[in-house]
């Protein structure tokens, strides 16, 4: 086992002490159970009494996705805009954005039990505005007529660095595309419904997700979700790519017209 370095600050020291005081349960004889499973071709679980299908771990996320796609198609196939959105969701990316939407609920439906939003401090690291460019590796743009910049944050999603500029009326997320990372939103229904609307910013295609209550996430060029990037947003969201190769996301309580006006001041 590696020799620990002496703790360099009080946080590390707390961690080292916590590690030293954990009373781990005795390690069971995993090798015997594994031997049984390998001998049985790993078709069944080896631990009696905790029956769980061996395939549980491999449950494909795509199954849930497929259900969503089908339901969506059925619910919204009458609208041309919806057909376009469906095409995008199915991977026929039309304008560089991929947006998925859950089916419109029945009037008496119970809201989807998606997670509650959490404060930005719980997933982002505050940094000084003067250090932001150094932290993310690009110079974040600042919108005009946006009021005072209140705080700046960096989020590191497995190497995908996001700059977040927090203004009084909105949070502005910025990512340098550099290889084609896309912002992807999954609106989920609440009573009152989330509205997905195609729009534009500086002649670039944009999506407006109104009503709050949706999950945003980043998707890599290969279509895989960037680990850890899913987050519930309870405000309106405007998302677009700029001609300069930036992905912008504005989370706000402003209207589309107000948000688009501010967004239009960005390069």
């Amino acid at each position: 086992m590696a020799e620990m370095h002496p703790p360099t600050d009080w946080t590390e020291e707390l961690l080292v002490r916590a590690a030293m005081t954990i009373d781990y349960p005795p390690t069971p004889d995993i090798s015997a159970a594994v031997r049984l499973r390998l001998a049985a071709g790993a078709r069944a679980r080896a631990v009696p009494g905790r029956a769980r299908p061996a395939t549980q771990w491999a449950r494909p996320l795509g199954v849930g996705f497929a259900v969503v796609v089908v339901a969506f198609v059925v619910a919204l196939s009458a609208s041309s805009g919806a057909r376009e959105a469906v095409a995008e969701f199915l991977g026929l990316r039309v304008k560089g954005e991929q947006i998925a939407i859950l089916p419109t609920p029945a009037p008496d439906a119970t809201a989807t039990p998606f997670p509650s939003p959490v404060a930005i401090e719980q997933y982002a690291t505050p940094v000084a505005a003067s250090d932001l460019a150094t932290e993310v590796g690009f110079e974040p743009a600042r919108p005009a007529d946006a009021g005072n910049l209140q705080a700046t944050y960096v989020i590191d999603y497995d190497g995908l660095l996001v700059a977040v500029l927090q203004y009084e009326r909105f949070d502005l997320w910025q990512v340098a595309l550099d290889g084609g990372t896309f912002d992807k939103g999954i609106p989920f229904f609440q009573k009152g419904a989330t509205v997905l609307q195609e729009t534009s910013v500086n002649q670039q295609p944009a999506w407006w997700i109104a009503g709050g209550g949706h999950i945003m996430r980043f998707v890599g060029p290969d279509g895989t979700v960037v680990a850890g990037s899913e987050r519930t947003v309870d405000r309106n969201t405007l998302v677009w790519h700029s001609a300069t190769g930036m992905n912008y996301r504005m989370e706000t309580d402003l209207s589309l017209a107000e948000a688009a006006a501010i967004a239009g001041t960005l390069p």
Binding site: D9, W10, L14, L15, A18, I22, R45, Q122, D156
Partner: protein, 206 residues
């Protein structure tokens, strides 16, 4: 104390590389020797994530079975321990997520704030400090928690941490630093008493 020291339960009469080569040839006994060699660290890694011994056992067992099935993709010359730890910790994280979904307590926002039962601990006089620290740790996103577990609780060297989390070795130091900074921020924002307790303890000890 519970310092993480992993004594092999079987004599290391064969190297990992030899055992892996034999296992690739269908020698299940050779693979099970590897399991016995690393089951403790794998089980502890799973336990840190899922916080339940039975689930940790299931996850660890499943992880080794999957590792066996994936031996064809194992890179010759790489260490086995971080490779299997990566499989096990991913399964453990998946288990936490699906458990949260089942309970309807999911907070899927890049990390999971799951109400986890407290870990068993030995010394009562530091209960408050530990309880607060675990609450703070639980507020971190899962990537941060895992990298801290691997470094401080399982005491893996940085190179193995890099393999276990699937990132370049050069990024581990900064990831640890950021995770530690986030923990510090969480403590200062939500658990200032922890800092005070710690400082007072330092004064007493000093």
């Amino acid at each position: 104390m519970g310092r993480a020291v992993y004594n092999y339960r079987v004599e290391a009469t064969t190297t990992d590389a030899e055992a892996i080569a034999a296992a690739r040839g269908g020698d299940q006994d050779a693979f099970c020797a590897l399991v016995a060699r690393y089951q403790e660290v794998a089980f502890r890694a799973a336990f840190l994530v899922v916080r339940d011994p039975g689930t940790a056992e299931d996850v660890t067992q499943e992880g080794f079975v999957r590792a066996y099935q994936a031996l064809g993709s194992f890179r010759e010359g790489e260490p086995f321990r971080p490779w299997v730890l990566r499989i096990v910790t991913n399964l453990a994280l998946n288990e936490v997520r699906s458990r949260s979904r089942r309970r309807g307590l999911l907070e899927r926002v890049g990390r999971f704030r799951v109400e986890l039962p407290p870990l068993p601990e030995r010394e009562a006089e530091e209960d408050e400090e530990r309880a607060l620290l675990w609450q703070a740790i639980n507020e971190l996103r899962e990537e941060d928690r895992v990298v801290l577990y691997l470094r401080y609780f399982l005491e893996l060297p940085e190179r193995e941490i890099a393999l276990a989390i699937g990132h370049a070795p050069g990024t581990v130091k900064s990831r640890l630093s950021r995770a530690s900074a986030r923990l510090r921020h969480v403590i200062e924002r939500g658990y200032p008493g922890l800092r005070r307790i710690h400082t007072a303890g330092e004064v007493r000890r000093g």
